[in-house]
Symmetry: C2
Subunit: 419 residues, 2 copies
Amino acid sequence: MKVSVIVIGDEILLGQVTDTNSGDIARHMAPYGWEVGDVQAVGDEADEIRLAIDRAFELSDVVLTTGGLGPTKDDITKGVMRDYFGGELREDPAVLDNVKDVVSRRGFRINNLTAAQAIVPTSCRVIQNRVGTAPIMWFEKGGKVLVAMPGVPFETREMFTSEVFPQLRGKFKTDVDIEHAVLMVTDYTESALAEKIAPWEEALPEYLHLAYLPKPGLIRLRIDGAHRDRDFIASEVKRAAGELAAMLGDAVIATEDLTPAQILLQRCRELGLTLATAESCTGGNIAHELTLIPGSSDVFAGSVVSYSNDVKMGLLGVERETLEANGAVSLPVVREMAEGALRAVGAHVAVATSGIAGPGGGSEEKPVGTVCMAAAVTAPDGMTVCEAETHHFPGNRQRVIEASTTRVLIKAIKLLRAM
Amino acid sequence: MKVSVIVIGDEILLGQVTDTNSGDIARHMAPYGWEVGDVQAVGDEADEIRLAIDRAFELSDVVLTTGGLGPTKDDITKGVMRDYFGGELREDPAVLDNVKDVVSRRGFRINNLTAAQAIVPTSCRVIQNRVGTAPIMWFEKGGKVLVAMPGVPFETREMFTSEVFPQLRGKFKTDVDIEHAVLMVTDYTESALAEKIAPWEEALPEYLHLAYLPKPGLIRLRIDGAHRDRDFIASEVKRAAGELAAMLGDAVIATEDLTPAQILLQRCRELGLTLATAESCTGGNIAHELTLIPGSSDVFAGSVVSYSNDVKMGLLGVERETLEANGAVSLPVVREMAEGALRAVGAHVAVATSGIAGPGGGSEEKPVGTVCMAAAVTAPDGMTVCEAETHHFPGNRQRVIEASTTRVLIKAIKLLRAM
């Protein structure tokens, strides 16, 4: 089942905010065999919104819009929908009660603008928005459905998964079964990987499809299968994933769609180990990636972000001589940082980074993108193993930080393999 | 000048990656009066791409595509463009040289798939991609232009700003001047702010436009003006921004489009102060936001991410009695964390957080979303001032972390006002 998504809002076209709603919707629907067929982003302009709806209805039976439902003057979606689907605007008492309830839970009092959220077209059925003030509106026309949802990502995520999508599945029944498998692959560039598996990929039957998603230091391979026979497609996808995994060996670091942070937390949890980070150039990003994951606190103990050399020495115990002899961006320093984090935080596993994220700070010897990283683990016998290496990452500051984060997490995952 | 953007790639529609290219393009063009008029995201399907190009050319004279230019089988954009614009596919020796150069700089050797990047339609003019292997292709048809760019964000950002956009501006001259002003406003909800300034907003002349961009704890107000007379519109935008700022008083924390992290770094730099963070529930995100900003290292000294109580005591010097008497999520604990960070990191300003980001860990007394936060500053006379407060944030784990980060940075900005 294909769905068209329309993202409404000048802020999207201006690049002030990034649309994450369409991706959230796609990821949630995928396991049920529902796909986003196309996404259109348009401004807060009535003509543009109407054109986008026309086109979406040409392509799909289900159209989802997000955004443009706020209380301020620049949000015009509701009026456009009234014009498009007909009917009058009326105040809905149930929506007004819900708006009052949501506003008071946030500790505010309702004002005229917020109260206006309760005015909706008579041509729609309202789905109450439990987590925000903008009502969700379900319109039908000639057997097709348009659902207008708010733009605030957490509201859309919450209401789409709990109400909108279950109701859509109730209305439109589909009967193709979808299965997929994922391999997370390291050590290969995208083209080297593609070349290695080309003969295998070309021999895939038409009901199986392979997709590459390269990220710095990591490639996600996804096998999708679609077939009317559920058992058949499940076993075919499993067989294909097994063949790929056998071909790629140690380069496969997970057979689930997990981030390196999730994989490392899972391995540490299985082994009963706690985790720390000592971060210079990554500036807390590794800790942030780890702590974004719910339940990380049973494994992750803490971090020292040692941007200054004083903090490297004071909190991590890096020796002044090591810094002076090698510079902060060096293998001896990241080794001492990783081992220092084990002691300072009191953890079993630690990763450390020190590098030049740019744009300033580079030299001929150590250009921007040079990052030294280490992973250390204290084995059950009390011995500490520490491995360090230097990388050169292309791209801007953010990309260097992200690539360093991914690489050092993968480094720790591989180090733990030997445990 | 309006531009249509087409984002190509199954990975976008599947929600595996989020499109940031269209936003990057929009933000870069805005100061020159160029706008993204619409964005379409389509899969790696020839028919879908052709339809999207047809529609884009209906709306705009300039169409930019990103993605679908990778070396693997699922990337088909190049073939679609050849069919659309005509001509043959040929190997371009200059592109091949560039591909070899880029690949060898990354420390890899060229293989057949990478070499195939050098095959381009004869109907396009190639713009060499200095930072990646996929050539950028410039097509023209009936006075309109389509430029096909790669999907990798840093490649597109780099090549769009340095080559593609300057060449587009050279071809299409525009003559309306655009000015804008931004106010960053705290202390108001979106609707309370809208209500306060409604009479003023309604009286704005038609060449001025006000847009709201709410974020947790902060609203960006943007005034855009467009007029043929550059001096006139510049003074009008300035006048409007001045009126707004006078109306909102202390709630305005910046008159530039800066994040709280940027504002705080700027204030610290002006005052000659260094900065530290002590993070429990934000897990390093505050440090990450600060260190994403180039040049932050002259102000930001370091952080302690104290997820476990042992780290709170060991590295930050929080007293065991304080933890036992009040719990980790409490005002006394975040005060001790902030003051401990001043000492441990050796900084003048510190912010601290401790809270329940969820989804687990909540209780009746301290539900998920409860976050205690503190900001501390050591004044020139050696006295330390520390302020702490408790917030309740709605939403999921990520939203609680982001909202806490924004709030505590704003708290520090306000504390420094008194300096």
